[in-house]
């Protein structure tokens, strides 16, 4: 018996730790973590299982017992503070007499009379008590058998074996004594509470006993599986990180860094639920410790931030109005004059009168940054290439004080609806909403003073918002997305007016943290467009962009770009690069693109876009015609046109003149094809 108890005691220790871990997990993950919930349900179930269950419980398979006990331990104390409080008030007076007689052992007889008076609540409670008493005896018995069970357990038993017999004897005596004291206390408590609530539950739950038992087992099993698993994983993750931090001193001999890293990655995949591919990709961006912080941060939600609409109100007024509605808030940081961070709110933020009157918009702090970097000036012409749902667009307009023009483009018309709604609600009047593919842009309209390209991306910076990213992104996405981003960036660059007096700037941003979508894309643009350079973003915080990553070398000026991380800045993962266009796109830029492999599609697209700058044509048929014509002519006069930029090229000019004529005709409402047809016939 003594040994059994000691074992039990001993086993108890790590389990208590597990409780702590769950608490930790719960707190950190901000999840409605299952373990506690399960425990609650488990304990509920246990309450339901009545005395009879005890007998059934005894012949349980060995490994489960650990969990049973671990759960049993805290549970013993659970019902007393929770339920008794309410119960006492309800029936303390009524049942005092009965209860005094009532002994834990004579529950059934004593309570049969009381039963009628008692409500279901008290039934439950009583069962809890009974159950607890059952558990105690159970524990003891288990303890006897438990010797073998627990000696299987490596970690604990190792230490134990080292104890000498004397030690064991002494220790067990001491523990016995202590335990006996504990036991006495708990038993006293039990009796006390049993006295208050001595009714018999078994009759009510008798039928469901077997089912309950099964469920109970299941729950225990899952509990047993879940608990040590996660706990172990986390432990191993932190241990491995510690080792990787100081590899020279802490590493086991014969284990390489790669092994540790592989193990760590596997654990991270298991613990956080990432696909191995993405986990590795993200892991490689950081040191192991930082990566861990990053993954942890992705489990926590970012604070809700709203942006004051300065067209309608001031931040102080808005803050006051919202505080009056019971919102707890605070300025988001020194870096923004319009952001308010929401801590707590009693009202739905998306439906307050202030919201409907357009005084603010709910916008992640991270999406302030590209606009701040762009810093549009009044009376400029600005393009937002992928603008839905309009947070950045309306911020641009607010910065420009409703002057100038903002072209808000979004290829998705459904999303554009929300964009129009936000634009209208915020009282923005200088926005033209259109829905083109961003890659068409310099053809639709160019010459913008500033262009904002918040490119569609994998969303690895906003995993806390959309956890599905963890699993649904694979290699393909990290090829196709950067490809599109490169195309978009080139057309964005070509849409900027380099000669603008106030502007000539372009901001490229993504809500992703991978280098494929950020540095690589920017580097690509720098290599294809010698007429742009990176400039400082003007954002006072954030980490510098990589200039080299895993053997890839980027342009040194990529230092000027900024990365933002959830764990470092408590905003979504973000990347911002600001370009300045310093000259027109030379025609041979395209030639240069042609030499390099990869992105052939992009080049073709850009080629079309670049060589027809004046075509405001929207007729698809005609565009095709042009393309076809270009391809046909490409071999003959293409190189000459590309080769010398400054010299006159009669053949090329003829084309432009023709195009201008066609445009002029269209403006007058004539069919431009009537101009072309006779010429085509002549050529033939």
């Amino acid at each position: 018996m003594g040994q059994g108890r000691r074992m039990k005691r001993k086993q108890g220790m790590p389990e208590a730790l597990s409780e702590e871990h769950f608490a930790n997990l719960k707190r950190k993950a901000g999840l409605p973590v299952e373990p506690p919930v399960e425990k609650a349900s488990l304990s509920n179930k246990k309450r339901k299982t009545a005395k009879g269950a005890a007998a059934a419980k005894k012949p349980e398979p060995a490994p489960k017992k650990a969990s049973v006990k671990s759960n049993g331990k805290p549970k013993k104390k659970l019902p007393e503070p929770e339920d008794d409080g309410s119960e006492d008030e309800e029936m303390g007076d009524e049942f005092d007499l009965d209860q005094l007689e009532g002994d834990a052992s004579s529950d059934e007889e004593a309570s049969s009379g009381d039963k009628k008076k008692k409500n279901i609540w008290s039934d439950d409670e009583d069962e809890a008590e009974e159950d607890d008493s059952v558990f105690d005896s159970d524990d003891q018995e288990e303890g006897k058998k438990g010797k073998f069970v627990f000696s299987d357990d490596e970690d604990e038993s190792d230490a134990e074996e080292k104890l000498t017999a004397a030690n064991i004897a002494g220790l067990s005596r001491k523990l016995d004594k202590k335990l006996a004291e504990d036991k006495a206390i708990t038993e006293a408590e039990l009796q006390e509470s049993a006295m208050q609530t001595n009714i018999d539950g078994p009759k009510i739950f008798g039928e469901g006993l077997e089912d309950d038992e099964e469920e109970d087992d299941l729950a225990k099993k899952s509990q047993a599986l879940l608990a040590p698993d996660l706990q172990l994983l986390r432990q191993r993750i932190t241990d491995n990180i510690r080792v990787l931090d100081d590899f020279a001193n802490l590493a086991e001999e014969g284990r390489s860094r790669a092994e540790y890293t592989a193990q760590l990655l596997k654990d991270i995949c298991g613990y956080y639920g990432y696909s191995p591919y993405l986990a590795e990709k993200l892991f490689n961006l950081f040191t192991p410790r930082e990566a861990f912080a990053f993954f942890e941060a992705n489990e926590m939600p970012r604070p809700v931030v709203i942006r004051t609409n300065t067209l309608r109100t001031h931040r102080r007024d808005l803050a006051q109005a919202l505080i009056n509605r019971g919102v707890t808030l605070e300025p988001v940081g020194k870096w923004s004059k319009v952001g308010l961070q929401i801590f707590e709110t009693n009202v739905p933020l998306g439906a307050t009168p202030e919201y409907l009157a357009g005084h603010y918009i709910i916008q992640a702090a991270a999406s302030f940054l590209p606009v701040m970097a762009l810093s549009p000036q009044p009376n400029e012409r600005v393009l937002d290439m992928a603008s839905a749902p309009g947070g950045k667009t309306t911020y641009c307009s607010a910065m420009m004080n409703n002057t100038g023009i903002v072209f808000a483009n979004d290829p998705n018309k459904e999303r554009a609806k929300g964009l129009i709604g936000n634009v209208a609600r915020l009282g923005v009047r200088n926005v033209i909403v259109c829905s083109y593919d961003g890659r068409e842009f310099p053809r639709v309209m160019g010459g913008f003073d500033r262009v904002l390209l918040d490119a569609p991306c994998s969303g690895t910076g906003v995993i806390s918002k959309d956890p599905s990213v963890k699993t649904n992104k694979d290699e393909k996405d990290f090829i196709s997305l950067p490809h599109m981003q490169k195309q978009l960036l080139l057309s964005a660059i070509d849409s900027v007016n380099h000669a603008s007096e106030t502007g000539g700037f372009l901001v490229y941003s993504t809500c992703s943290v991978t280098t494929e979508e950020n540095e690589s894309v920017v580097n690509y643009a720098l290599s294809r467009r010698p007429n742009v350079k990176l400039v400082d973003t003007g954002i006072p915080f954030g980490k510098e962009g990589f200039t080299s990553f895993m053997g890839k070398k980027f342009h040194p000026s990529l230092k000027l770009t900024r990365r933002f991380y959830p764990h470092a800045h408590n905003i979504d993962g973000f990347y911002v690069a600001k370009f300045q266009k310093i000259g027109p796109t030379p025609p041979n830029a395209i030639g240069a693109a042609g030499k390099k492999s990869g992105g052939a599609g992009a080049d073709a697209e850009v080629e079309v876009v670049d060589r027809t700058p004046i075509a405001t044509d929207d007729d698809a048929e005609e565009a095709e015609e042009k393309k076809a014509g270009k391809k046909a002519k490409g071999s003959s006069n293409g190189p000459s046109a590309k080769g010398d930029f400054s010299a006159f090229d009669e053949e090329e000019d003829v084309k432009y003149i023709e195009k201008a004529k066609k445009n002029a005709m269209r403006r007058r409402g004539l069919d431009p094809r009537s101009l072309k047809k006779p010429k085509a016939q002549e050529k033939k």
């Binding site: 009168p353 009047r429 200088n430 929207d618």
Partner: protein
């Protein structure tokens, strides 16, 4: 996108004049910087937009142009002009008759209710019956517009539950009617 025809212009002006009265001309008056506001029609919706913007917007193909400037409302199939909540900033600027509602009346109004006497804080004098009204909160935030159910004098004698103003549009529509309010290609 095109300018309005004569009839369309008339329909729009008539509607706007219900709310703005004589200050309607301020809407289309030339601004200091030489620009002026013009009306443009795109897919049945009427937009009030600066001329310089309207000119630039001609570059956008009809199918791709979703919105520009401020949307005032739309023409129904039968040729009537229906004013939308999106016109509120324009109306609020130039409103002739105004009505201020108390804080306790704000939410009922934003949920689409008419305004009862009990919720009225202030009321423009000399407002006749069935006249366009712009509705503000007590701290002058425009919330929507409607038509007066009674003249000012009559509504003074009204009991607290009597309707003073029939709602036509309110800010709550941004949430309630997002699907129909805006053009989607």
């Amino acid at each position: 996108m095109r300018p309005l025809t004569e009839e369309e212009t008339q329909a729009v002006f008539k509607k706007l004049a219900e709310y703005t009265g004589a200050s309607l001309k301020n809407i289309i008056a030339p601004q200091e910087d030489g620009d002026r506001n013009v009306f443009r029609l795109s897919q049945n919706r009427v937009y009030l937009v600066r001329l310089s913007m309207a000119n630039l917007a001609t570059s956008i193909a009809r199918d791709n142009l979703l919105s520009l400037g401020t949307c005032l409302g739309k023409f129904t199939k039968s040729g009537k002009f229906r004013i939308h909540i999106t016109a509120l900033p324009i109306l609020a600027e130039h409103a002739r008759h105004k009505l201020w509602i108390r804080p306790n009346g704000v939410m009922p109004f934003l949920y689409g209710g008419n305004i009862v006497k009990a919720h009225v804080g202030r009321y423009s004098e000399d407002c006749p019956e069935h006249q366009g009204l712009v509705v503000y909160t007590m701290d002058d935030v425009p919330l929507g517009f409607g038509v007066s159910a009674r003249s000012t004098a009559e509504s003074r004698r009204l009991d607290p539950t009597g309707v003073v103003c029939f709602r036509q549009a309110d800010c709550g529509e941004y949430l309630r009617d997002e699907d129909t309010l805006f053009q989607s290609g």
